[in-house]
Structure formats: C-alpha cells, structure tokens
C-alpha cells in the first residue's frame, strides 16, 4: 500500500493549483459561466498547455498516458475552483470512449485534437424515461445503405451545446432495457436532423437536450462493434463517476475550510460561534465525512483500473453513493452554519453547495448507486 502522491502527481497538483489560484478566482469563474458559451476558451487552451486535456489519452494518440489517479488530482482542484470548462464531457467521457473503443481512424481524427484543445466532445446517452438506468436506450439506429439513420432524444447532455462531435448511443437491436443491442455513433451536431437545445445548469455550467430526427451517418460513424456498446458505456460512466467523486472531494474540502474559518471569526453572543459545542460537533462530523470522502474518491479511481467490470462497478458505485451522502451532509451543514449569508449568491459557499447537489444528480444519485451495490450482492458467490 502506498497512499503518497508520486512525484509527477505532486508536480501536476502544484501546477494546476498555481494556475487556478492565479487565473480562476471566483470572479473570473463567474465571468466564464456567464459568457455565451458558458466557459472560457482561453482557460481551455491553458488547460491544454498544462497538459490536462491529453492527460489520460495514450502517448500514441498524442496524450500523456496518465491514469485515473491523475484525473483525480485534476478534478479535485477543479472542484475547489468550481471550474466550468467541459472537462468531464470532453476528456473523461468523450476521449475515454474513443480511447477504449474508437477505430484507428476515429482516434487519429479526434484524440490529438482533444489533447491540444481544438475539439470538444460530448456524450449523448441518457434519456428522459431511463432515469439513471444505463441500459435503457430508446433511441434507434437503422441500417441505411452502408450507413445508419438515427432517431430519438437525449436528455441533459453535459456541454452538448459546444461539442464538435456528439457520441450518441442508439439501439441497433432489442428493446429499451436490453443489455445487448446498443451501439455508439459519432454524430456531427450540425448534421441535418439534429436539434441541440442548450441551457445553463443550476450550478452555472451547461447542458443540452438533443433530438435526432432521421439523422444519416456513414458506416465510419459507428464506434466499436454494433450491438455491443453497453460495456463501453458503463466503463465511461464509471469513469465519469470517479471523476465527479474527486471533484466533490475538492468542493467538500473547500466548504469545510470556509466553514471552519467562519466558525472562528463570526461572533454572536460575544464569542466566536465555533465555541458552541452544538456547532463544534457538527464541524467535526463534516471533517470526518471529508476524510471518508477522500478515501472513497481513491476507491473510485482505483476501481476504474479493475479489469473485472463487476468489481469496477461495485467500487465506483460504492464511492459515488457514499461521496453523494457525504456531499449532502457537508453541503447542507455548511449553509446552515453560515446562517443567512450562506443562502446568498454573493458567497462562493452557496455555489459550492449547488455544485455538490448537481454532482449528486449526475450519472446517478446516491440512492441509485446504493441500489447498484445492493443489487450486485444478489449475484455474489458464497
């Protein structure tokens, strides 16, 4: 066992923190979020220069060949700074899927361009009637000459409005809940029949609903094998979950630090409110949750490296469930301990709280992942 950060990771951590500390103060972040695209292309280019965009892309595809632990470092720092750039959508999900399952031509076309910051991707998988069930795909792709024709609707696609390519899941056989029969396609959002309705999200990022109406794509749009994309999808979403766990961890730590500081400085009844034992114990609980959340974010990152898919899912879901529960507790308490100032837009505290709430609602909430762990128990061997 070794929980210390390798030297390169410490350097990575330092350079991100330094960059974000210098360029990504709360005011700058507000400006990025309020801009037409909802994020800053300039910051994105800086991320590319820092090597963050190609971090987990293989050397052969123009990246650095990093691991989920590298993603963890990045996401934790992003959480603290409330970064709104489309990192999860493009790098974790998009580039992850293409690295896993893309053809050599697809990789060559997209991965180096992601690493340099030129191209953005988004993963259009979830649907309104699915809730968080990864197998529930109603969108359809029918053979159409050499290519395919896509119909369907996708819900809350992270950063769908800015993507240069959408990675769309659609059914090539079977019925909505079936394991087999799902395929992945690269779709140009400007193609005929694609409607992208982009909107801001509660936490100041962006998402979109996507409609596909007889969208024609070529044979080369298919990612991996037809009918067999579920394992790729689940792996991508597990990676997304692990990244979000790390991001939540950054937020939790930031919230705890801010709240602790407030308990020491805010005076009521002639003393710092941190003197009240009712609040001391609450702050202690928040600290315990933060320590555990960190352990679970590590579990998620290491879970991603598991070769057994069931074990990977079990670990990632355990982490997402527990980090979600910790987030809920820490977020709510941080607001409560700040009193009325905590429910204002002015203070970054309310934004951290909102981000934690939205992380929980993304890729399955704590209840969903608890259920996933619990259901896996049924197929455990004695």
């Amino acid at each position: 066992m070794d929980f210390s950060l390798a030297e390169e990771r410490r350097l990575l951590q330092d350079s991100i923190s330094r960059y974000l500390g210098r360029e990504y103060a709360f005011d700058a972040r507000r400006k990025h979020a309020a801009s037409p695209e909802g994020f800053s292309r300039e910051a994105w280019n800086q991320f590319a220069e820092l090597g963050l965009l190609g971090l987990t892309i293989s050397d052969a595809d123009g990246g650095m060949g990093g691991t989920p632990f590298d993603t963890m470092i990045v996401m934790e720092a992003f959480g603290r700074a409330l970064v709104v750039e489309p990192y999860v959508a493009t790098v974790v999900l998009g580039a992850g899927i293409l690295s896993d399952a893309g053809s050599p031509a697809q990789k060559e076309q997209w991965l180096p361009a992601v690493a340099t910051g030129e191209k953005l991707l988004a993963f259009a998988h979830s649907e309104a009637a699915a809730r968080y069930d990864t197998r529930h795909v109603e969108a359809r792709a029918k053979k159409d000459g050499a290519g395919w024709k896509l119909d369907g609707a996708k819900a809350v696609v992270l950063n769908g409005g800015s993507a240069d390519a959408l990675i769309v899941s659609a059914r090539t056989s079977g019925d909505a809940g079936d394991e087999r029969g799902i395929s992945l396609f690269l779709v140009d959002p400007k193609a005929k029949g694609v409607t992208v309705r982009a909107y801001p999200t509660q936490d100041g990022s962006r998402a979109a609903d996507v409609k596909l109406n007889g969208v024609a794509v070529g044979a080369d749009a298919l990612i991996g094998h037809a009918d067999d994309a579920l394992p790729v999808i689940e792996r991508a979403l597990d990676r997304g979950c692990a990244a979000l766990c790390a991001e939540a961890l950054g937020v939790i730590d930031a919230l705890n630090a801010a709240t602790l500081e407030y308990l020491k400085t805010r005076k009521q009844f002639g003393q710092p409110i941190g003197r009240f034992q009712a609040l001391q114990h609450r702050m202690v609980e928040m600290t315990i949750r933060a320590v555990e959340a960190r352990s679970m974010a590590i579990v998620a990152a290491s879970g991603i490296t598991q070769t057994d898919a069931r074990e990977r899912s079990r670990l990632v879901s355990a982490a997402k469930a527990y980090v979600g529960q910790c987030s809920r507790f820490v977020g709510q308490q941080a607001i409560q301990l700040h009193g009325a100032i905590g429910v204002t837009d002015e203070l970054i505290v309310s934004h951290w709280f909102k981000r934690l709430t939205m992380i929980n609602a993304t890729f399955g909430d704590a209840d969903h992942h608890l259920a996933r762990v619990s259901d896996l128990m049924l197929s455990e061997r004695e």
């Binding site: 979830s126 309104a128 009637a129 699915a130 809730r131 968080y132 069930d133 197998r135 529930h136 109603e138 819900a155 809350v156 909505a176 809940g177 309705r197 909107y199 801001p200 999200t201 509660q202 936490d203 998402a207 609903d209 005076k267 009521q268 009844f269 002639g270 009240f276 009712a278 609040l279 709510q332 607001i335 409560q336 009193g339 009325a340 905590g342 429910v343 204002t344 837009d345 002015e346 309310s350 934004h351 709280f353 909102k354 709430t357 939205m358 609602a361 993304t362 909430d365 209840d367 259920a371």
Partner: protein, 398 residues
C-alpha cells in the same frame, strides 16, 4: 381521546373549501402549485379577496376585525388554503406587527394601522436582523436618538424579506447603551418612504431576490411611531416571537407538497416504468409521509391545548424544527424525483407567462431552486440551533 375532527369542525372545513374553490383565481393557484415566481400583486390579490370576506386575519380577535376562530379552525383554514394553492398571507403585517400593536400600541396606532393591515393597503416588513446581529439579536446596533418629538435613526438592517415592496417596516432599534443590551431596545414603526431609507435587494442562491439590505441615514421618525415604552422593545419582540404557533409547522403546505411529490413520482420514468413503482423511492416518500403525520398530530395537540397555557412555549420550537426539516426533505425528494432534470436552470421558465419550451416536463424547472431556497427554513425566524437551545433550556433545564 378523539383524533377525528368534530362535526362542526368538518362543517367549517367544508365552508372554507367552498369559499376557496369559488374565489381563488385559477391562474394564481396554478402559479403557487407549480412553484412559479409570485409578484407583489399576486400576494395582494388573494389578501384582498380574503379581506373582503373578513378572513384575512385568522388569528385576530373579533373586535379588530378577525373572524374569531379557534386555533383548530385557523389550522383548518390554513390547510384548505394551502391545499388549493393559495399564496401565503404574508406574516409581517397580519401575524407579526399587528398583535404587537394590539397588545402594546397606542389607540391612535391601533386605529390607523390595523384597518390598513386588514385591507392590504400597507405592505409590512420586519427589520430585526443586522449584519452583526442574527441569532444574537439583542446585540443590535441601529441607533435611534431622541430629538424633541422625533427619533433620528441610523444603521443597517439586513435579510429583510420582501422589503423591496414594503410601505412600512417595524424595527428594533437601540435607544440606550447602558445596562443589559436587552434593556436599551425600542420598537419603531417606520414609513419606508421617509428620506434616508434605502433598500438594496440581495440575490439568493436560487437566483431570486427575496431578501434585502435596508439602510437608515438620519431617518426622522416621529416619537408617536414608537410602540409601547422606550427601551422596552425587547419584551414586545419576545411577545411577537412566541405569539404565533398556528402555521409555524407548515403542515398544510407540506401536505400539499407531499401530494405533488407523489404526482411527480407517478409521471417520472425510471427504466421506462413509473418511478413510484420503484420500491426504494416509494419508501423515501413513505418515510416523509409518516414524519408528516407525526408532525400533524403533534401540531393539532399543541393547537387544541392553546389557550390553556400562556406565553411562548417550547412547543413552537418543536414545531419549527420538525416543520422546517420536513419542508426541506420534501423539496429535496422532489428534486431527486426528476433525476438529471433537476440539473437544467431555465430562469425564464419560473415566470407564469413563459411560453417557451420546457426542459424535462412542465413541473421540473423550479424544483432545484425550491430545494435551494428551502435551506432558509432552518435558518430564519430563529435558526434550528437556537430553537434547540430553547428546548434544552425550557424543557430539559440544561
């Protein structure tokens, strides 16, 4: 013991229901039920409808124009109004300042203010909190200096709910600095149009503007706008805080929200099936349903005992703590029910006349905002920590 309402209470409920059904404008109730943004006018419309019927001030004695209802009747009225989606009657005039004026005000204050509160002519707001004085209200610093027949008021109030619409503000101000901090406070009624009063809205975490900062710069307030005696304002403020137990638990509204939650869980799909068929999620709803039942019966027990006891009791604190927690849980579960559709923020969709496309069904847009907004319920009107301190002192003697 009898948990059922009496025949006359049931008859009363029917009468209220019939009136509300006939008189609550449909567009208004739709706004409330769908958690859309309410304007000043929306609050006033319903206020005036009730005023015309003589029902706006449920808790007032008949001599001042109240209907003379028992606490249980008041509760039934609240419940019927909430169920139908009526806007709340804002408490600042009717439930807060009016009882203080009735109990401690001059005849001239009673004659002038009470009818205007009833009719809705004046919109009131509460000026207690200050940046440095929240839970520790007695530490407040806004000063009122006596100059002949006027006070000159200087200072800052904050977290002032809907003060941007207010005609009048009732304030706690410092009129003496010696002795215990509680002993130098007076209770002033201030016309918001007086020169030197400035209001600045504060944006809340849900993006809405519901609270304000209020500044007083050499504001001239006639001495006859002081309620009761100079330096005795703390007594009146405490009277106000403990006065009102009806409605503090929010049972009526929570019952309505529970129904709404079930409705959403029936419409939402999980793996293509109605969400309510998911036993895990249904258990969550059932848990709140059970907690709400416990709160409702506790509330009724407190109300039916009211009158047999005097002064503020710890019951109000118990109702406040549990009531706020249940409101928070309901809003959280509702947001959770729509899954990833809690994520979009379509600000315009909170306007009732929004004609654009919705994201995730017509009910989804406000839900996350409501959840964020509901964090306030455990902070305002005495935070839950302060309520627990009261219970620990008054009930447990700790």
């Amino acid at each position: 013991m009898d948990l059922e309402y009496t025949a006359s209470e049931r008859a009363f409920r029917d009468e209220v229901r019939a009136f509300v059904t006939a008189n609550l404008p449909a567009d208004l109730s739709a706004k409330v039920l769908e958690a859309k943004r309410l304007t000043r006018d929306d609050f006033m419309r319903w206020h005036k409808i009730l005023a015309a019927k003589g029902w706006v001030a449920a808790g007032w004695p008949q001599q001042y124009g109240g209907p003379g209802w028992t606490p249980v009747q008041q509760h039934l009225f609240d419940e019927e109004c909430a169920a139908a989606g009526a806007p709340v009657i804002l408490p600042f005039g009717v439930r807060m300042v009016a009882p203080v004026i009735m109990a401690f005000g001059s005849q001239a204050q009673k004659d002038y203010f009470l009818p205007r509160i009833l009719s809705g002519e004046d919109w009131w707001c509460q000026g207690y909190s200050e940046p440095g004085s929240g839970s520790d209200l007695a530490s407040l610093k806004t000063r009122a200096e006596r100059q002949g027949d006027h006070y000159i008021v200087n200072g800052q109030k904050t977290w002032n709910t809907l003060g941007q619409y207010a005609d009048w503000i009732f304030c706690l101000v410092r009129t003496a600095t010696e002795g215990r901090p509680q002993e130098g406070i007076s209770f002033l009624l201030i016309d918001m149009k007086t020169p030197g009063v400035t209001v600045r809205p504060i944006r809340m975490l849900d993006g809405e503007e519901e609270i304000n900062e209020v500044w007083f710069e050499n504001v001239k307030v006639p001495v006859d706008q002081r309620v009761g005696e100079e330096n005795k304002g703390w007594t009146y403020a405490k009277f106000l805080l403990g006065h009102e137990r009806t409605g503090i638990a929010g049972v009526g509204k929570s019952k309505r929200e529970l129904q709404k939650l079930k409705g959403i869980a029936r419409k939402e799909r999980a793996s293509g099936r109605p969400l309510i068929e998911d036993a895990r999620f249904r258990d969550r709803i059932a848990q709140i349903e059970i907690e709400l039942l416990a709160l409702e019966v506790t509330n009724l027990r407190v109300l039916s005992e009211e009158g047999t006891r005097k002064g503020p009791g710890p019951e109000a604190s118990i109702l406040k703590v549990r009531g706020s927690e249940i409101q928070q849980s309901l809003s959280e579960l509702m947001m959770q029910a729509v899954g990833h559709y809690g994520v979009p923020y379509v600000r315009e969709a909170l306007d009732a006349d929004y004609k654009g496309e919705t994201v995730g069904g017509d009910y989804a847009a406000p839900l996350a905002g409501v959840y964020f907004n509901m964090r306030k319920t455990s902070i305002y009107s005495g935070s839950n920590e302060i309520q627990k301190n009261i219970i620990s002192q008054m009930v447990l003697g700790l």
